[in-house]
Structure formats: structure tokens, C-alpha cells
């Protein structure tokens, strides 16, 4: 270990001339800079958060968790020093690279900006009004993104483990299909068997020979015959026997399903304004981050609906304005079709998140609830519905869809109401903590 900055005081080891000390510090833990970095972020948190929020609006859900470039206004960043006022008094200064000036020439004084006549020390002391750009790491970005939401301490246990049966290699077996025979292993077992038997036979022969030495003729002939038989047997041990055969063995083991898909369902009818969409987006992003942590890779499908449902890309999902009425059932039906067509099977973890302001007709609500309970829920790991009511009225009545969903029961179903950005994380935690209890 090459540690400790302690170098002070002592001369280097033996005072041999030309003794070089090259210490490899590349493996030292990084992060001395991290302290100062964190201090900087702490100090300019408000500015940085504003910038991070803007950045969030521009990003796709999949990129939310990545680090990235942030630019904050330069005010407040300057470290002031006392300086001279260059508009007062007189001064002389020397510059390099004269072209054709001769003594007595007058040169128009540059105005504004950095006075290039000043000596180099003047630079950087002025008020920095330009913006200051730098890169944030993934963790820093997430910390800011979830700042209102209290940064979630993402834990695996929040989700119940979904497991599926997988056949895994599990040692060797004596029985099996010919295709699984392991020739090398089998021959090795044969060699071992022959060595063992030969040793045992040799011992037996030795014993008999000793007996033979002190025996009478008749017994002696019999013994010699036995010895001879053993010798023959020893010479002709079979090269392979059935007991030597070894096969690859496969045992069923429980493995977590590794592939995950997340379906985002959102009502984009006229009543869903930007604020609601932003809340929806935050919820989806949060879910995405959780799932990504867990599964590594998560497919995301966007289904938007008005009276009709369609699968769209993310850009259109969040930003393409649509108007129209609201029918929820077609969206659920489309989700069902998509799952059946592309994500069926035991190794897909299907998560559905639905965001809506809850406006729907009574008939549609009933149909949706029934469809959800009977068709969709059995297919998915989890169905989360968040209700984003209009911020208007002071009294809040449960929305139509919410009331309809009263009918839905099931471990995999959860719903919550979100009114504000700060609601999202608690709601999220609640949604998934329930799983743990279940």
C-alpha cells in the first residue's frame, strides 16, 4: 500500500544518489474532489435545481436517470478581489507582438468587455456574468430530480421477487439422455474404477499367495487356481462399464425473471393540462428508474388515449396536443393486445402505470374496471393507477374512474391520488410498500 500523504520532514530513505521514488497512486480511492464538488452544488442548489428541472422537461424518460450537462447563471459565482479601476489614473503596460506602431502613435481604446490591455491578472476577477456550465453525475442529477420527493433509497425489496423455473447445470448424474453423455468424464471414471479394482485384486492375490506358501498340495492347487483366476480378471478388467457413465445433469432452479416492460397509459384528452402531464411524467420516470435498477433493461411502451387508444413514441406521448373525449376501456384493451402479442410468457415482468384525471363516463368506467379485473390483471405483475385531479375546486370528490375502480380487487392493483409534485414519492413508496406487506 502506498498511502499517506506524509512526506514531510524526512529525507528519502537511504540517501543513495539517484535513488528514485515513483509511487503509483492510480489505485488510490478517488473522490477528494467529490467533497468540494458537493459543496459547490450545495451552495448553488437553487440555481442548479432550476437548471436540472428544465433539463428534466427536455429529457426522455429513459434518460432522466443519466447525468448530464447543466448550465447555471454566473452571478454569485465570482470571487471578488479588490481591483483598480482602469478608468482612473494613468498607467503604462507592455504588450507583446508589436506590428507597426512607433512611439507617439495613438490607438483607439477598446470599449467594454475585457480590456485586453490589462495585465493577465485582471482577467477572472470581474463579475462573472456568463453562464457557468458543468456536468452532473447520475447520482447528483437524481438527487436534484427527486429533491422535492425526498430522494428514494431505492431498494430491491420494495418489489416482491417474481421467480420462474429455469433449468440450470447442476453437476453430473449417472442417468441421462445419450446426448448429455460426457465422454471425458466417463473415461475418467473408468480409469478410476480400474485403478481401484486392480489394487484390491492385487491385495487379494498377495493374501492367497501367502496362504499358498504354507498350504498342502490339494488346497494349494485350489488356491493356485483362484490366484490364476484373479490374475486373469485383473488383466482383463473392462475398459468401460455402465457404472462409469456420467451425464450432464440439469436441475430446475428458481430464477428471477429478467425482462421487464413498462406500459405507460395516459389520458391525453383536453382536460389533461401540462401540469397533469408533468406529474404523470414524473411518476412514469420514477417507475422507470426503479424498474431499471431492478432489471437493468426495461422496455417502455406508451399508450395514449382519448376516445380511441394508440401506441405512440415518447415525444408524441408527452408533447403532442390532442383533444377529444375520454374512453378508458380502449386503452386497456390495446394494452392487453400489446402484452399478448409481444410480452406474453413467464419471463416477462409486465408493469402498467396509468395516469389520468379520472374523467370518464359511468358506462366506460364499469367496462374498464371489469376488463381490468378479468383480463389485464392476471397478465401483469403490477398495475398502478394514479389519479391526478384538477387543482381547482376546494372540495375534492373522488373522480369517476376512481369510483369505478372501487370494483377492482387484487394484489397486483394499486391506486393513489397525486395532487402535487411532492406527493409523488410518498405515493410511490406507498404503492410499492404494500407489496412488501403482502
Amino acid at each position: 500500500m502506498t498511502h499517506g500523504g506524509a512526506t514531510a520532514g524526512d529525507a528519502p530513505g537511504p540517501a543513495t544518489a539517484g535513488l528514485v521514488r515513483i509511487v503509483d497512486r492510480r489505485a488510490d480511492p478517488p473522490g477528494r474532489g467529490a467533497v468540494n464538488r458537493e459543496r459547490f452544488i450545495r451552495r448553488f442548489k437553487d440555481d442548479i435545481k432550476r437548471a436540472a428541472d428544465e433539463e428534466f422537461g427536455k429529457r426522455s424518460i429513459k434518460d432522466v436517470g443519466r447525468g448530464g450537462r447543466i448550465s447555471i447563471p454566473g452571478r454569485g459565482l465570482a470571487e471578488p478581489r479588490l481591483t483598480h479601476d482602469d478608468e482612473s489614473g494613468s498607467r503604462d503596460f507592455v504588450l507583446p507582438g508589436n506590428r507597426d506602431y512607433v512611439p507617439g502613435d495613438n490607438i483607439v481604446r477598446p470599449r467594454g468587455g475585457e480590456d485586453d490591455g490589462a495585465d493577465g491578472d485582471a482577467a477572472g476577477t470581474g463579475e462573472g456574468t456568463d453562464s457557468f456550465a458543468f456536468a452532473l453525475s447520475r447520482e447528483e442529477f437524481l438527487a436534484l430530480f427527486f429533491d422535492d420527493l425526498e430522494l428514494p433509497n431505492l431498494e430491491r425489496t420494495r418489489f416482491g421477487e417474481m421467480s420462474m423455473e429455469r433449468m440450470r447445470r447442476g453437476g453430473y448424474s449417472r442417468e441421462g439422455l445419450p446426448a448429455n453423455l460426457l465422454p471425458g468424464m466417463t473415461v475418467r471414471m473408468g480409469i478410476a474404477r480400474r485403478i481401484a479394482l486392480r489394487g484390491a485384486l492385487a491385495e487379494r492375490i498377495e493374501e492367497l499367495e501367502q496362504e499358498c506358501a504354507g498350504a498342502e498340495n490339494a488346497a494349494r492347487a485350489e488356491l493356485l487356481e483362484q490366484i490364476e483366476a484373479l490374475r486373469r480378471r485383473r488383466e482383463h478388467l473392462p475398459y468401460l462399464e455402465d457404472v462409469d457413465r456420467r451425464y450432464r445433469s440439469r436441475v430446475p432452479t428458481a430464477a428471477p425473471a429478467t425482462r421487464a416492460v413498462m406500459l405507460c397509459l395516459m389520458d391525453v384528452s383536453g382536460s389533461m393540462d401540462e401540469r397533469k402531464k408533468d406529474l404523470g411524467k414524473r411518476f412514469f420516470a420514477l417507475l422507470y428508474l426503479f424498474l431499471e435498477r431492478k432489471y437493468g433493461h426495461v422496455d417502455v411502451i406508451f399508450v395514449r388515449h382519448t376516445e380511441t387508444a394508440e401506441e405512440v413514441d415518447e415525444q408524441r406521448f408527452f408533447h403532442d396536443p390532442q383533444t377529444g373525449g375520454t374512453l378508458v376501456q380502449p386503452a386497456l384493451a390495446l394494452a392487453y393486445q400489446i402484452i399478448q402479442a409481444r410480452f406474453a410468457g413467464p419471463d416477462w415482468n409486465v408493469y402498467v402505470a396509468q395516469a389520468s384525471d379520472g374523467d370518464c363516463t359511468g358506462e366506460d368506467g364499469r367496462q374498464s374496471a371489469a376488463f381490468l379485473a378479468q383480463q389485464l390483471l392476471p397478465l401483469v405483475r403490477y398495475f398502478a393507477y394514479i389519479d391526478i385531479p384538477s387543482s381547482g375546486g376546494w372540495f375534492s370528490r373522488a373522480s369517476d374512474l376512481w369510483q369505478s375502480y372501487d370494483a377492482v380487487e387484487g394484489r397486483a392493483f394499486a391506486r393513489r391520488t397525486v395532487r402535487d409534485r411532492s406527493d409523488i414519492w410518498p405515493v410511490f413508496r406507498e404503492l410499492f410498500a404494500r407489496k412488501q406487506a403482502a
Binding site: 514531510a8 495613438n106 490607438i107
Partner: protein, 528 residues
């Protein structure tokens, strides 16, 4: 390759006959050369670096370079970024301004806008020089010669460093400072600590003793002193009567107005006399002051220090080449980097950021050697003592006894002025719309340019001179600062206001800054 060539007529002209002068580096003729270079190509191992260090050390020893022992530390690019952000020190107390530095450098580096510093060397004993793992062999050797021998020798010989810094104590002191500041943060909250540090940083340039040799840094003594002081003052601390306790341990001097001597170490004064600072806040002031004091000689010797280091890497690497220890590819590579380092864009170019200390210093030191080796008549006239003397001694003398302004005043030769095409402009009150060219690189201008440039490197030229003139002699307990105005140059009103705000935060009572001219007439007054 040259080693096997027998000396013949071409020994005096080692380059092809068609060329009248070397366009690529050529070894000096007539020297014994190694048959094989120590290493070729761009790859290196610790073993090759050690061999190179031994070779450089041999040449340096032969040329009479006096250095501390060197310790090289191999680091990664991100570690280099960390180092750069804390002014090159491997240990430093935490502060947001270092984080700002780090973020902007990292961003620039990632975007490819800025390269990384090649070399960082720490003035300790043994000197620590950093080698970045991504550098090629030629660059590593360049850094070894530049930092490990050039800077190192300058640190060891220059009078300012000898007088003002204790090479062996700084890292320990910074360690102490860091843990102290962290303790303070735990105890008093980071906001409090940060605001005090911000104030001190703004005044860091006024925290040095310019003429007095500072007391030796000793962590042991520092700790003992601190314990005693904190114990005493915390026991007795009372915000309202704090100023009465101030001098109990010092010799009880009556603070008569007439006896007050102007003080230029503002931070020292604040540490000792600010009426309402908490003991730990005084300690913070002291830490910033001590660190600033450590860097004081470096501020004064940018040109001399970088010039000497650049001169020495140039000389030592050429020596390696002359001895056949490196090959031509090696030379071409580092000379490319060297050229970038000593480039001086003209004043009207886009990339002009003031005079490049590397370029200026290197030119001066190279010219000292030239004057010694092949003096012209002009040199004999300007440098009668230097022309024809042994260059090693001359360089050694220049490294030992000068700082930037005096080095320029003594050694800036007409040839360097001509080569860099230096000229002097005047910005006067009579004509604010124009700059007036006062002198250029001609016979009548050399002396003016030389003195003008030297004056430009005096710290008064870029750091306004502030002294503490009076304090606490009235019920208001105001602090009176004075700025001695020279040639009419007043303080910038905006930055002054901010900085006075910081002083007030430390002093806790009103702060007044008056600007006075040479006769003592008050020109302007700033109040908080």
C-alpha cells in the same frame, strides 16, 4: 545511429548538405553517444521512467543543479483534475470554490476545450512531482525534467522560497487545517464556516507578511497553541466583552491612537484584533492567512519560476539527446509540446491572455545563456559582467536572487525585447479615448520597455495597496483602511463594495476605506 559514425568532415555539419541550418533537432557534434537510446516509442514503464530519472539526474548534477530529492507520483487524469482544483495541493480544506474550479475544469476537459496541466509540483522536501498516466514517454520525461528538476531547483535555491516557505511543513499544516475546519463544520454548521472562509478568501492577498520572515509552521505547536487558546477563550467568551479579553495573553499594550502603526497584513490584524470574532473564527482567519503566506513567493515568481523550469527541461532534454539517450522521435514529440507551452500570441490575437510567463521566462533564461556563450557587441554593452562568463553560474545566480520584477529589470535584454516585439503603451487621464504608444523595441525604447515591464510585475501594479490605518479608537469601533493611490489609480467601486462587505462580516462593526494620495489628501471614501 550517430554513435557509429566516425568523426569526419560531416561531424561539424551533422545535417544534410542541402540545408544551411538544422530543421530538426540534431545532436551536438563530437560528443560520445550511447549506442542505443534508453527507450523508444511512446510506451513507458516504471522501470524506464526510473532509468530516465537517473539519466536526467546525472546531467543535472553535471550542470550544477541543486535540488531536493524528488518523489514522483503516478496519477490518473481524474486525480489530476482533483489536484488542479485545490491549487495543486494533495490535501486541502474543503471549500466550494475548489468545487467550482473542479467542475469547470472537468467540463472543459471532457469537451476537449482545455488540456490538463502537464505538471504539478509541490514545494516540499522531498519535492513531489505528479506524472499523469495518460502521458506518453516523451511527455513524462519532459515533466520529470521540468517539475522534478527545474521547479525543484528553483524552490530550493530562490531566496524568496528559502525565506518565506517551509517546504517540509506545508502538507502537515494543511492536514491540520482540514481536520480543524471539518470539526468546525460539525460544531458550528457549514454555513457559518463557509461564510467566514468566503470573507477570508476575498482578503487572502492581504494576509501576507511581505518583509518579515513568518514563523515556522509546526503542527505540534499549532495544536498546542490552539488548544490553549480555545480552552481559555471559550471559557471566558462573552460577545459583549470579547474585546476586553483580547489582549490578556499578549503584552498589555495600551492601544493609543498615536502609537498605532499602519499594518498591511489585514488578515493578521483581523485575527488578532477583530472585536467580536469567535475563537474558532479567528482560527479560520489564521489558516487562510498561513496558506496565503505559503503561496506568496509563488505569486511573486511566476515568470522566474516557470522560466527557469522551462529552461531546464529544454536544456536537460537536449543533453539527453546529445548523449544519445533519446531518439529523434522523442525530440520531435516533446518539442511540439514545448512549443505550445512557450507560445506567445501577439496582443491583438484572439488567443491573447496577457504575457505568457513561460514564454517570457524561457526567453530571458535562454538569452542569459546565449549572452554567456556567444555574446554580441550589444550584449557586452548591456551586460558587461555577464558576457562570456560561465553560463551555469549566471543561470544559478539568476535563479537564486530574483523575483519577477527584479529578474526582468536585471536581465530583459534588447534581443528578447526585439524577438517578442515588446512595446509599451500609456493609458492616461488626458486622453481616455486612446492608448498612446510610449516605447517600442528600438534603441531608445529598450530601457523604457524593460522598466515598464518590471513595474507591471510588481505586486502593487495589480493588487491595490491597502493598510489598516486605525481601529476601534472611538465608540463606533470602526476599522479604518487606507488605499495609497499611486498615479491616480483609484479602486474599482463595485468590487470594493463587495470586499468591504466581507471585511465588515469579520470585523462586525463599520469599515471605512479611504483613498489617499501621496500627500495624505483624502480623494475618496468608501463606507460599508
Amino acid at each position: 545511429m550517430m554513435a557509429t559514425t566516425p568523426p569526419d568532415i560531416d561531424a561539424h555539419r551533422p545535417w544534410p548538405k542541402l540545408l544551411t541550418r538544422a530543421t530538426v533537432p540534431m545532436p551536438r557534434p563530437g560528443l560520445p553517444r550511447r549506442a542505443e537510446p534508453i527507450a523508444t516509442g511512446t510506451e513507458w514503464t516504471l522501470g524506464t521512467l526510473e532509468k530516465f530519472d537517473r539519466a536526467i539526474a546525472a546531467h543535472a548534477g553535471r550542470l550544477g543543479l541543486d535540488t531536493y530529492p524528488v518523489q514522483y507520483e503516478l496519477i490518473t487524469a481524474s486525480q489530476m483534475l482533483d489536484l488542479c482544483s485545490t491549487v495543486g495541493m494533495p490535501i486541502h480544506y474543503p471549500h466550494w470554490s475548489f468545487g467550482k474550479q473542479l467542475l469547470s475544469q472537468e467540463h472543459g476537459y471532457r469537451k476537449g476545450m482545455t488540456g490538463l496541466a502537464y505538471e504539478i509540483v509541490i514545494n516540499t522536501n522531498p519535492a513531489i512531482a505528479y506524472l499523469m498516466e495518460t502521458n506518453t514517454l516523451a511527455l513524462q520525461v519532459l515533466v520529470m525534467a521540468h517539475a522534478g528538476y527545474g521547479h525543484n531547483a528553483f524552490f530550493k535555491t530562490n531566496y524568496l522560497f528559502r525565506q518565506f516557505t517551509q517546504a517540509d511543513a506545508i502538507l502537515d499544516y494543511l492536514q491540520f487545517a482540514r481536520s480543524f475546519i471539518q470539526d468546525c463544520e460539525m460544531q458550528y454548521g457549514w454555513r457559518e464556516v463557509e461564510s467566514v472562509l468566503d470573507c477570508c478568501h476575498a482578503l487572502a492577498t492581504y494576509g501576507v507578511d511581505r518583509y518579515r520572515r513568518p514563523a515556522r509552521l509546526s503542527v505540534k505547536r499549532e495544536r498546542a497553541r490552539l488548544n490553549e487558546r480555545l480552552k481559555f477563550t471559550e471559557k471566558h467568551y462573552n460577545a459583549d466583552f470579547a474585546h476586553l479579553h483580547m489582549h490578556e495573553r499578549d503584552e498589555p499594550e495600551p492601544e493609543a491612537v498615536s502609537a498605532f502603526e499602519p499594518q498591511e497584513n489585514l488578515l493578521y490584524f483581523i485575527e488578532k484584533s477583530a472585536p467580536r470574532l469567535q475563537p474558532w473564527q479567528r482560527e479560520l482567519v489564521r489558516i487562510v492567512r498561513k496558506v496565503s503566506q505559503y503561496f506568496y513567493p509563488q505569486r511573486l515568481t511566476k515568470v522566474a519560476n516557470e522560466g527557469a523550469a522551462t529552461f531546464w527541461h529544454y536544456t536537460l532534454l537536449n543533453e539527453l539527446y546529445d548523449a544519445g539517450e533519446v531518439d529523434d522521435g522523442f525530440m520531435l514529440e516533446w518539442i511540439g509540446n514545448h512549443g505550445d507551452v512557450v507560445a506567445q500570441p501577439p496582443f491583438d490575437a484572439r488567443g491573447y491572455h496577457g504575457l505568457n510567463p513561460y514564454a517570457l521566462g524561457f526567453s530571458i533564461f535562454r538569452d542569459i545563456r546565449r549572452i554567456c556563450d556567444v555574446p554580441t557587441d550589444e550584449d557586452r554593452q548591456w551586460f558587461p559582467g555577464l558576457a562570456g562568463s560561465p553560463w551555469q553560474d549566471a543561470i544559478q545566480f539568476a535563479m537564486t536572487n530574483f523575483k519577477d520584477d527584479s529578474l526582468i529589470e536585471q536581465y530583459l535584454s534588447p534581443k528578447v525585447i526585439r524577438d517578442m516585439r515588446l512595446f509599451m503603451m500609456h493609458d492616461g487621464e488626458d486622453d481616455r479615448a486612446h492608448y498612446n504608444v510610449r516605447a517600442i523595441h528600438n534603441e531608445s525604447g529598450y530601457m523604457t520597455v524593460r522598466q515598464g515591464l518590471a513595474a507591471q510585475y510588481r505586486s502593487e501594479a495589480y493588487i491595490p495597496t491597502i493598510v489598516v490605518a486605525r481601529s476601534g479608537d472611538d465608540a463606533e469601533r470602526a476599522l479604518l483602511l487606507q488605499h495609497r493611490v499611486e498615479s491616480g489609480r483609484m479602486l474599482d467601486a463595485k468590487s470594493t463594495e463587495t470586499v468591504l462587505g466581507y471585511v465588515k462580516q469579520l470585523w462586525k462593526f463599520d469599515v471605512v476605506l479611504e483613498e489617499i494620495d501621496a500627500d495624505g489628501t483624502r480623494l475618496k471614501i468608501h463606507r460599508t
